[in-house]
Amino acid sequence: MAKEYITTRNIAGPLIIVDSVEKATYGEIVEIKAADGSIKRGQVLEIDRDRALIQVFEGTSGLNLGETKVKFLGRGVQVGLAPSILGRIFDGSGSPIDDGPAVIPEKMADINGVPMNPYARNYPSEFIQTGVSAIDGLNTLVRGQKLPIFSGSGLPHAKLAAQIARQAKVRGEGEKFAVVFVAMGITFEEANYFINDFKETGALERSVMFINLGDDPVIERIATPRFGLTVAEYLAFDLGMHVLVIMTDMTNYCEALREISAARKEVPGRRGYPGYMYTDLASMYERAGRIKGKEGSITQIPILTMPEDDKTHPIPDLTGYITEGQIFLSRILHQQAIYPPIDVLPSLSRLKDKGIGKGKTREDHSDILNQLFAAYARGRESRELATVLGESALTKTDLIFVKFADRFEQEFVKQDEYEDRSIEETLDIGWRLLSMIPVEELKRIRPAFIEKYLKRYLKEEEGKDAAQR
């Protein structure tokens, strides 16, 4: 029988300090019984001789000094795992909220996980077709990658994430696929949007959801993504499934982290966020990946809303340093009614080079990708110049690039929420657009591919020109 301590000495924000503790250990989970009999859970953050500093997941309201009973459970936070976990919905600390029975676990796992041995990793190189041209064509997602969506408030990141969850597939294979959805501090409506979308498309039965809403305890958010990721690891590496983890909104997670840090009176780093935020975020993002000799994979799509659309804010900044690229949503494109409003220039997929090309997508993919980027960048630059000086200030080639940039946004980036484009369609749109540009400007494309792919469209364009005349 574990001892119950009534020696709580301090309560401040989400933290309590308990005195005269025997044999507590770092990271251990505790059960806290408030005066009214309600039970909360917490975790040891620091232990100094017989004094334990504990963060309370459900918040400290209702706790007092004399009657609060604290029990140390001698283990870390764990989650029970079994195949029947698929199709279930849990709250932010792992209790079912879908009126179903508790999961009967086949195994228990610590939610903090253990770092994957870099030597055991398998390099992500299998192309995932999302059906979204701006992603497939230019910022290709591969299995085992972590590719966040950098968004802003009011932008349709939820729609895009749901579309990816709906359409993502590895071509020509009927493999086991699952979605783990982690909500941290989002609104009921947004969570509901995902749940309904998953229900409608039949995705719910192959999904596991962990929902911590905006009015749920803040500190619980620290644990929520770790529950999700532990389940994802189980599905991927024990059951051999390909798991897509969507985590939204990382900004709320980081704010919870800051709240604990402030309550502990730690030396703050940039904008008050703790100095260890990089390490903390990495301990989650790095749980994406593949393992040599194992079937499954974990692909992460974290979503974060950049405060004031500022990508140098610590949250997007540190995330960008850990993840393998990012998908940027642009307010300007959104205002022009372009969906998905992906700004391809600052977007990036670091792993694309191994996932594209012959045998994966198509041999011309790499060249066309580089050329589209370069041409669009030049078009945008010229367009900016034109807004300052007027179109007359541009050379005739620059004018072509401006027109290219406009058409690129309207035809390549823009597509319907339910439009699922194959990679061939995406690349062919790219060629069609490039055919506007004089051939000698297509410096990034090998001549053989110009011969093979572009010729067709050049004739088309000529035909159009003739018709116009």
């Binding site: 250990t25 620091e46 232990i47 996980g113 780093g269 900044d317 990036l348 191994k354 000086l389 200030a393």
Partner: protein, 591 residues
Amino acid sequence: MKENIGKVVKVSGPLVVAEDIPNAKMYEMVYVSDKKLFGEIIEIKGNNASIQVYEDTSGVGPGDPVYSTGMPLSVELGPGLIGSIYDGVQRPLDVLKEKYGDFIVRGSYEPALSRKKKWHFVPLTKKGSNVVSGDPVGYVQETVAIKHYILIPIGLEGEIDFIADEGDYTVEDIVAKVKTNGGEREVRMYQKWPVRIGRPYAKRLPPNEPLITGQRVIDAFFPIAKGGTACVPGPFGSGKTVIQHQLSKWSDADIIIFIGCGERGNEMTDVLMEFPELTDPRTGRPLMERTILIANTSNMPVAAREASVFTGITMGEYFRDMGYTVALMADSTSRWAEAMREMSGRLEEMPGEEGYPAYLASRISSFYERAGRVIVLGNGKKESALSVIGAVSPPGGDLSDPVVQATLRTVRVFWSLDAQLAYARHFPSIHWLRSYSLYADSLKDFYTSRLGKEWAEMRKEFMKILRREAELQEMVRLVGIDALSPSDRLIMEVARSIREDFLQQNAFMEEDTYTSLEKQKRMMRLIHLFYVYAQDALKRGVSLDKIVDLPVRVDISRSKLIPEDNLEKFDEIEKKLKESFEALVSEVQNG
């Protein structure tokens, strides 16, 4: 063994405070709790010692034992290093995977060098000869290209009393005995060295030869010397890691040490899977046969990240001491600095700028100063060099970041990565106006003797054109391109050609990923010739539009794709270039 045991009193993340450790010394290695978690003493206050623990401390609590070792944190140096992958405290990750599985289990331990593997030892000295520290007693052919010399350990000198015959030995076998003033000492195939202390050398020399990287913007514009230091700061997505990978693939060093310090796991995997398949352009052997990897990814314990750069550079010094040219890449030193900040915060030290400890700058410079071109210890008086290239990841790409500033004060080459260039997919995104190399002068002689005077002149001319382009762009922004004179517009065109046809280099394209100095020179000459001819043609009344539309320009832009073994192709293009301009000029004169 009771007397070696202290007791844990406090645990706060990776920081553990213990009391009653007998004879606790600064930077001594200890094992914490019965799980034998590996740590290092970083502060002593009275009876209490603060320990940074290199593994996750969950489950450790007051009362747990702490075992002292009396040894500072050291690395093992000997045959078996090359081709290995270690974590930040030199645990062999490949062996750990075999033994413990796909995840890193706490308290797992394996020696860095295999104790069972036998190496073929060839003696190089004989009984009775006098040796000093750093002299080789023999060697092991570790890979086809690398003779791993077995050196007399630092601090030992005397007469060889025993030397093993040629044959197969393990690293623990005694291969020599030395009679010294202090009695007879044994020499094994491996030795240990504390990571925080630089290995001594006989004399430091100024650098005089470039580290040839095959990256055009680096070799031609901002070269780094063998034995030099460089830093690559840039925001995320600007291509730091690709540059580091390119340098470790193509640099003409004998040994490459790549430290993945707090970075992505998948990137290390990329190196691990790619390097064994790539061939070293100089030896024709797999690149992995000259590479040592240190992987302490961002999710691995933060304290081991702090140690990883020292672990790496100590190995670098060891190979330098054998006479090899070593290049060390650290990606990224910002994560290393952050690890220092985290430990400093937990020690409740008074913070300096942005929460970094006040000793940040001195730690950074003590790391970079271990680079250099030296004459090594030993009677051979061999010359060798250790170059260090560190990536820096400043928050938001802001160069006023304390880590960037402290690094810039100590390194001699600055490759400034630019986000705008990266967005336009101009890679490597090294900004030509903001970067610099302080070695340009000391390397001038090398370049002149190898490539002729032309090289330096073209380089100067190109820099001038690029600077002028920046000014002209300002003007265009205000008044439009039409306001420029034809000769200024020509400069804009040539600058664009320099940027797109020369500086830009595609790391993922087989023909373009490495360019020899000779080919670089030929490429530069094409653009330069175009400029010279075009100026002349303008003077003779040829319109700029005609010059700009010359089909030969496509050949210039495609000259990157000319294979290294077919450089005669450049002669053809030069000829075509000349004829094209002659045709233009005669057209004007005749019509």
